[in-house]
Symmetry: C2
Subunit: 551 residues, 2 copies
Amino acid sequence: MSAAKNVLFIMYDQLRFDYLSCAGHPYLKTPNFDRLAAKGVRFTNAYVQSPICGPSRMSCYTGRYVHSHGAAGNGYPLKIGERTLGDYLRDAGAECWLIGKTHMVADVEGMRRLGVPADSIIGARVSECGYDIWVREDGLVCIGPENPDEPIDSPYNDALIAKGYPAPNPWHVHANSGIDEAGNIASGWYLKNSRAAANIREEDSETPWLTDRAIEFLDSRGDAPWLCHLSFIKPHWPYIAPEPYASMFGPDKVVPPVRSDAERHNANPVFEAFMEMPEGRSFSRDEVRDTVVPAYMGLVAQCDAELGRLLDHLEATGRMQDTMIVLTSDHGDYLGDHWMGDKCLFHEPSVKVPLVIYDPSEAADKTRGTLCDALVEAIDLTPTFIEVLGGKVLKHVVEGRSLLPWLRGETPENWRTAVFSELDYGGLLPAERLDLLPSDAHLFMIFDGRFKMMHADGGFAPILFDLETDPRELTDLGTDPAHEETRQRLYEMLNRWARRYAQRTTVTDEALFAQRGTEADFGCLIGFWDESEVAPAVRPFFVGKPERDYR
Amino acid sequence: MSAAKNVLFIMYDQLRFDYLSCAGHPYLKTPNFDRLAAKGVRFTNAYVQSPICGPSRMSCYTGRYVHSHGAAGNGYPLKIGERTLGDYLRDAGAECWLIGKTHMVADVEGMRRLGVPADSIIGARVSECGYDIWVREDGLVCIGPENPDEPIDSPYNDALIAKGYPAPNPWHVHANSGIDEAGNIASGWYLKNSRAAANIREEDSETPWLTDRAIEFLDSRGDAPWLCHLSFIKPHWPYIAPEPYASMFGPDKVVPPVRSDAERHNANPVFEAFMEMPEGRSFSRDEVRDTVVPAYMGLVAQCDAELGRLLDHLEATGRMQDTMIVLTSDHGDYLGDHWMGDKCLFHEPSVKVPLVIYDPSEAADKTRGTLCDALVEAIDLTPTFIEVLGGKVLKHVVEGRSLLPWLRGETPENWRTAVFSELDYGGLLPAERLDLLPSDAHLFMIFDGRFKMMHADGGFAPILFDLETDPRELTDLGTDPAHEETRQRLYEMLNRWARRYAQRTTVTDEALFAQRGTEADFGCLIGFWDESEVAPAVRPFFVGKPERDYR
């Protein structure tokens, strides 16, 4: 029995697994992350299904690999046919709400084809990957030469304007820009401006604003069980923090990058193409790291402070007793490690995420404050939430597995021996540089707890790291003859995974077991010469009687 | 330009590729198949995507592999989200009709979830894999101990009853049974009764009845372009033919089975499990073949005669000038070859199908009466039909390729170098015998035009045939050390195929090409230090101006 009747599923955007004090960051203090970790379990091997926002999130919300749900890149609509957390939880009698970001794009063509009106309840939910919307705010209000006049649909902007910040786009001009020496706007889109403080009152910036929405939500709840996906926008770029966080850290608090000169010599061409993106070139410069990383740390510190405010509220209102609380991220941030910026590839800072789960149940008391190093995937969240809220995990659809046993100190049978992550970069610059068709611009990561291999379609060698001997992932063994056997073993696992029948979602395993050898019981005789070969119960239906006896 | 404004897409059920006189059968004369082959192209390497009814057909109707659409076994509903021929053709302004069998089961749960009423036009079409129903008749009216009182929904039965055949199930008692020496019903479900003549007037049997429906359909058409899927039930079991076809062939006209004693020694365990099914054991007996094969041949002869009647009608009404006509099957029938009955595995008699396409266009004149030995898959039909009827082939969804170039004597660029077929046998008896979980009960065939390999998940060795040196597929090279390289090459192709992004169906390749490197043009600057790094057109949106200039 779970004491949790609610789930508060908190996601940060682009939060590294190791930028928390409980995860060992030497300078950044995150007392509130640590506070929840002390009450719950911190998973130290949690991997996302894709190291970019959209596909990673769609995997979180469907419990399925990217290769299965197909929303493989930012801006790719999630197919209307994909079942989501919202479907499962509502079937179980729970509500399913969103506050913040999802990166979802509606499958308008699928809705047209099936006649699902966008303004119906079903239409609204499939348009929002299953959530009912408390507030949807993806937090990137971009305007450029190709979309100079696009109407800005942003509840956050609306709120800022209502508070007196001037239209049309205070998200950019205030929350994500500073003021330069001349008193002009210094856009946070330029990394050089990350040293400035955001041109906004701290309490009006994005993270407190979403936290306020969450507190409003909590205060409005009745008896019905709910899941709330509180999905913060930060510490994702633009990297610019309001005071006091802007001044909290100096370059002396920036940890050195994990990289080596050797990485750039004879780099795998795919790795090289990603290193050559503007973010890789920028973050390879110390000036950039020294300017941006303090801002990133400030944003994380702000996330932590706001988490504290939220936890205080949950404690004060009794919700800590009946609410499971989850802290995670959709992917990490290279911040200059491996000569990379942003994310996209599969080194630990990009593909591994923080994951803390607090379960109020008595059954979880024995694991409070512990670590769990099992191989965990983001697709495990959906089945965990379904199980907590009393729903049914459809194992022929949901590919993740519930984490509840781990929270209760049990080791589930046949736990996975590898995690998988993917990147579809058909729409990204490295595919252009490598001259790849979209069908070849696919990367697959498999990690078995020791060896991590990246396979690239399109005719490239794999990348292989041995995290036991090389935990910093500096030595690519992808073409090392001594590791041929390891590569073969990992390829076998990867290919077995790729062949899985992830689309057989309309028939359960149980139905298939029950069906075996039953054709004759339903009157379908295949390959029988005469009555002696069929079961006695079947014979009367086919016995040689006069025609009238068949009426 | 195509002269065809209509498509008559004729499918037989379980018709072997080589039981036609134009394909070299020594005894069976099929003048009408031959007549159409003389006017069109006969494809000699046409393979189905699964050697059983349901999944094979769903691949024909979606243009997608079984691994992609997921309706992987008989009775597995096709997901509501899968687009079908009907969607594509209606978008192109053509009608899309069904006469006969599809083996479709509606995705009732998907319809519930999306609020698609079964009695709406959209609901009716998705329930019937995209077709409008002229008549739906799957032709297997089965009653047994587990479903003794199931209401019999069969338009064919209704028609027989209206003609005076007694209720409730003349499909069984008349069309698919004979009369024994004592004057009693001899059920056609027992192979021993295949020697009898069906207890029905020939013109009332299934093939003429469906042909009549097709002629009615043709006579009712106006100017609108259409595709009609005329989908016959025969020569599929129950194997029993009405006179004169019942007496047309004797055991002396039965060709010997393709099999060898060696096949049964040390057979691959998967092959063995299938051989051990009742149909394999039965068809391994000469008495069974001598009884059943003549009935099968009689049913094919009847199909041919009815095709003749239909072609005569098309000629008399001018439809041969504006209608593409296609003859094919959903899979073959072992008929005792390789110690097997029925179908399921991937030897030629099971997985290869007849395929004749007649194109009335002048452009096709140069190929009339020719053979084409290109590697062709059943999924090529959907894009062919879309192209003929002026629609748009969505290449990010449809996995087959149009056959029109071959019909016009052109060799398309980069034609496929291998065909794929699959079997999900999680619900079948061999999975029980092999003690397999549904997730391991998957077979994959890859055939490159010379080597055919079957991979079985679940830890079995592959099966490999060299059709150049062993066209009868009697020698399994699956563990032959001399063929290790061939197996590796085929595995590489199979695994590349399994990794393909078949679910990325909401974004086109064109959109991905167009997207590369354009973030900044839409106001999203990733990794730029300052304005010197962005394009001049982008700079004005981020220049350091007074705040009022951003309003």
